[in-house]
């Protein structure tokens, strides 16, 4: 049973709602009463401040992890460190919130888009906006606009049926697109939902076969896997490409934009009832929780959000294909193994899979096992970009200063996952 949440019966409130970062949930009424004081600050200054806060977080964790300070005998030190930790986390939150902007600006632009598009398509469509006061980082605002426009275009063009079809199906003549935003456990969820025809499994499947993305024998694929096909490059089920959708940017661009923000897109759909795209993006882009792992002499950080589980494999779980591709069986599912030491060409501590640790990482579409020497524990990772002098490094999304002052590389999980197929191909050839 698919759960398509019924849209909350909220009337969009078009009056601008000033929100202060400290009380994002404050009702609009109360806010308009208190005179809001605002100063303009140069964004560079905010970024500089955010950088410094990042340094502070690193310095703080270096102090807290100092082996020299015997923390069990020094009660006052422990207390002081705990206090410092609390304050630095709060400063970090405040600094982050200063870059936060409500989504209202972008959401309200969609009103016009929906009006124009529905006019062009000759359909009647209402746009319902919920949670426009939700605040997100400025970077997210900049990056989310294109994907939203695309999803709404798709909803109106492919999702919502024309009026006679709707009436025949017992639906109201006017279609509805709902744009909803909310915070949920360190993430912002933005959903684009329509009450249209829903995704057509058969059509998508046929199209997938036609485009050689899948084969006829894949008929037993799960629904979710079928839906994910629409994110593949070059995929479009629409028979007639119009000027509304199909302007050259496909759903694969939507997915890529969102993955650049380290977000995910989920699809829920039911035939005849509607489709819902759920975009989940982590709130902070500069500081993440990371798992630090060791491979040989080097340390790498893996974003916790992409780790599914980690375990030490038993030799019986591992199968090696004749071409050298290793596959591990976890509770009935087979996962390809990618040895990080091979990817990064370093000398590992362990070569036997059973001596090291396997970490299952995933994104919306792929999953694989990374082989590392050992886990070193998790910590707050302040993301720094690699110096431009080094250009782009494959499989690395940045670096971070670990709590002993050394540098660790941050794994680009999405990049690694998309190269897994390539690597498997290489081994077979």
């Amino acid at each position: 049973m698919l759960d398509i949440a019924p849209p909350a019966p909220v009337v969009p409130d078009w009056c601008p709602q000033p929100t202060s970062p400290d009380h994002p949930a404050l009702p609009a009424k109360q806010q308009s009463q208190a005179q809001q004081q605002v100063i303009r600050v140069d964004i560079d200054k905010l970024d500089k401040m955010l950088d410094l806060v990042g340094e502070l977080v690193i310095a703080e964790s270096m102090v807290a992890n100092n082996q020299g300070a015997d923390r069990f005998e020094n009660d006052r030190l422990v207390k002081a460190i705990t206090q410092l930790d609390k304050i630095s986390r709060e400063i970090q939150e405040v600094a982050m919130s200063m870059r936060m902007i409500p989504l209202a600006g972008i959401f309200n632009k969609m009103v016009r888009l929906v009006r124009d598009l529905s006019h062009q398509a000759g359909k009647q469509v209402d746009l319902l906006i919920v949670g426009e006061e939700t605040e997100v980082d400025k970077t997210i605002i900049e990056q989310i606009s294109d994907p939203l426009v695309h999803l709404i275009r798709n909803a109106i063009h492919h999702g919502i049926e024309d009026a006679p079809t709707r009436l025949a199906a017992g639906k109201p003549e006017t279609g509805r697109v709902t744009l909803d935003a909310k915070h949920s456990a360190g993430e912002v969820w933005i959903t684009v939902e329509d009450d249209g025809a829903g995704l057509n499994r058969k059509k998508i499947f046929e199209r997938g076969v036609e485009k050689h993305l899948i084969r006829n024998e894949d008929a037993a694929m799960k629904d979710e896997e079928i839906w994910r096909l629409i994110f593949e490059p070059g995929f479009s089920t629409s028979e007639n490409v119009s000027n509304i959708s199909g302007q050259g940017i496909g759903m694969d661009v939507v997915r890529r934009n969102i993955e650049r923000l380290r977000g995910k897109v989920d699809i829920r759909t039911r035939e005849g009832v509607g489709t819902m795209f759920i975009i989940r993006i982590p709130l902070t882009l500069a500081i993440i929780e990371g798992m630090v792992v060791r491979v040989g002499a080097n340390r790498y950080a893996i974003p916790i959000s992409s780790i599914k589980e980690s375990f030490r494999p038993s030799p019986g779980q591992i199968t090696a294909t004749p071409d050298g591709l290793e596959i591990v069986r976890v509770r009935g599912e087979l996962q390809p193994v990618l040895r990080l030491h091979e990817l990064y060409r370093v000398e590992p501590l362990h070569r036997q899979l059973a001596d090291g640790i396997l970490i299952i990482v995933e994104n919306t579409e792929n999953r694989c096992c990374l082989f590392v020497d050992e886990l070193l524990g998790h910590q707050q990772i302040v993301i720094k970009t690699l110096p431009d002098y080094l250009h782009h490094v494959k499989g690395i999304s940045g670096c971070s200063i670990l709590n002993d002052g050394e540098i660790g590389m941050i794994l680009d999980v999405a990049g690694i996952l998309s190269s897994v197929d390539e690597i498997a191909q290489l081994k077979i050839n």
């Binding site: 340094e55 690193i58 002499a297 080097n298 990817l343 990064y344 060409r345 370093v346 720094k384 690699l386 110096p387 431009d388 002098y389 080094l390 490094v393 494959k394 499989g395 690395i396 670096c399 200063i401 002052g405 050394e406 540098i407 660790g408 590389m409």
Partner: protein, 167 residues
Amino acid sequence: MSKNDMLDVELLEDDEGEEDTQEDKYLTFTIGKEDFGIEIRYVTEIIGIQNITEVPDMPSYIKGVINLRGKVIPVMDVRLRFESQERPYDDRTCIIVINIDERPVGLIVDRVLEVLDIQENDIESPPKMRKGDTNRFIQGMGKVGERVKILLNANKLLFDEDERVQP
């Protein structure tokens, strides 16, 4: 790895007025038996050798990155850039941090000597005869007393693509 006995020549920012006093001044260092020089206006500081974090997929002369007071800086082993033999680092090994176009890079050298005044008329153009292709990093040959200092072109050293590394 004693950082204390390293000469710490933190230079001031490149101000207009500073430019004049920095002219004709070269920081000299040795690699193997030869003396080299680099224009002082590029140099921001000299530090002792530190722990270097490897970065995958780099040419051999890029040793990795170091943490310089919270800044992540790439380091290049100038020895390997000249395609000479690698040599284990010791307590005289230094990293000269240079800054070109706001991009700081550390250069690993055998040892740092001193800052020298080399007048323009004491500098001869690089030898025309080509032997190997590391000549392209040379800006001129500075004559100082009996010795000759090979003056390096910092820009070429950093940004000249090594054709042979290209796939």
